[in-house]
Symmetry: C2
Amino acid sequence: MSETPATGEPTARRRGRPPRAESADTRDRILSAAREEFSERGYEKTSVRGIAKAAGVDSALVHHYFGTKEQVFEAAVAVAFAPALNAPEALAAGSLDGVGERLTRFVFGVWDNPTTRRPLLAILRSAVNNETAAAVFRRLVASQLLRRIAAQVDLPDPELRAELAAAQLVGTAMMRYVIKLEPLASADLEQIIARVAPVVQGHLTRP
Amino acid sequence: MSETPATGEPTARRRGRPPRAESADTRDRILSAAREEFSERGYEKTSVRGIAKAAGVDSALVHHYFGTKEQVFEAAVAVAFAPALNAPEALAAGSLDGVGERLTRFVFGVWDNPTTRRPLLAILRSAVNNETAAAVFRRLVASQLLRRIAAQVDLPDPELRAELAAAQLVGTAMMRYVIKLEPLASADLEQIIARVAPVVQGHLTRP
């Protein structure tokens, strides 16, 4: 990719700070290139230089907008997780009785769709392989997603409960979509939800 | 590493087929080097040449004993999994009532020990990142370990049940030992077993 030809900007402009009007567009283009690069290569093999090249900008501009590679990764993951980070509010809409099924349906809804699965897979792979990527996963998933689910649980150890529920969900998604264990990989999604939802519910609300 | 100097063998001997007496020792040395290389680098970055170098033998000898890189990996994983592959018989010793707790204690006993955790971690990382390594994981874990647990379950969908139980166990191990989510990573092991064992039991025996 290169700068949009329609704007007719001289290449040299790329090295300076862009004016405000151009900022949001350039930032989005870098973020989009970053998501693509991290999804394609994983955290370790992705470089700021590669992201800059894919976005058609200078590396300095990537650093200007986002900082280090870790910070670009965190920004890209935050975008991929945006729908999930809104989940706790959606889940809170009903009573806590049905939270196991709502959370399970939500998670498998995201994993079962190849488009939304791809960034999750990239994050999971990066987090399993690289301590820096694991730290980003911890910050976003633990502090933002699980803490907010835990906040709705009025029982001892709410955070541990939320993490063990997440362990069943992430473990099942990994066995089904990554390792592709049979019969789990080919099983009907409703059959899996019927078995997993009560477990998630139990973790969160069993006294 | 190099050939044991005490034997005084000429280097040229490495390229031919070794006599029987030497075979078992050389095979073990290659397997041990393979485990070390795969643990250290993961499946993708490990090469047969690197394994041969670490074992102090020619690459042709590695191919002679094990075949392709995938087959060396499978042999190395089989050694790492040997204790786990004996688990189903051990688990079958008691009644099915306590199988959830016995299986959970067994799995966390292996994961909580840094020495036995290391090869598991390497297998998990490789399987998440590489389709060939995932296929090896499927064959060994699914066909050998989970099928044998499922064989003891006299209820509908025994294999799916065993896989969902494994998903809770592997997911929890991943969150605790790889991603290191808190409070799960620092939680007392008995507290985790108390919460996870009934879930594993439920997957396997709940009607």
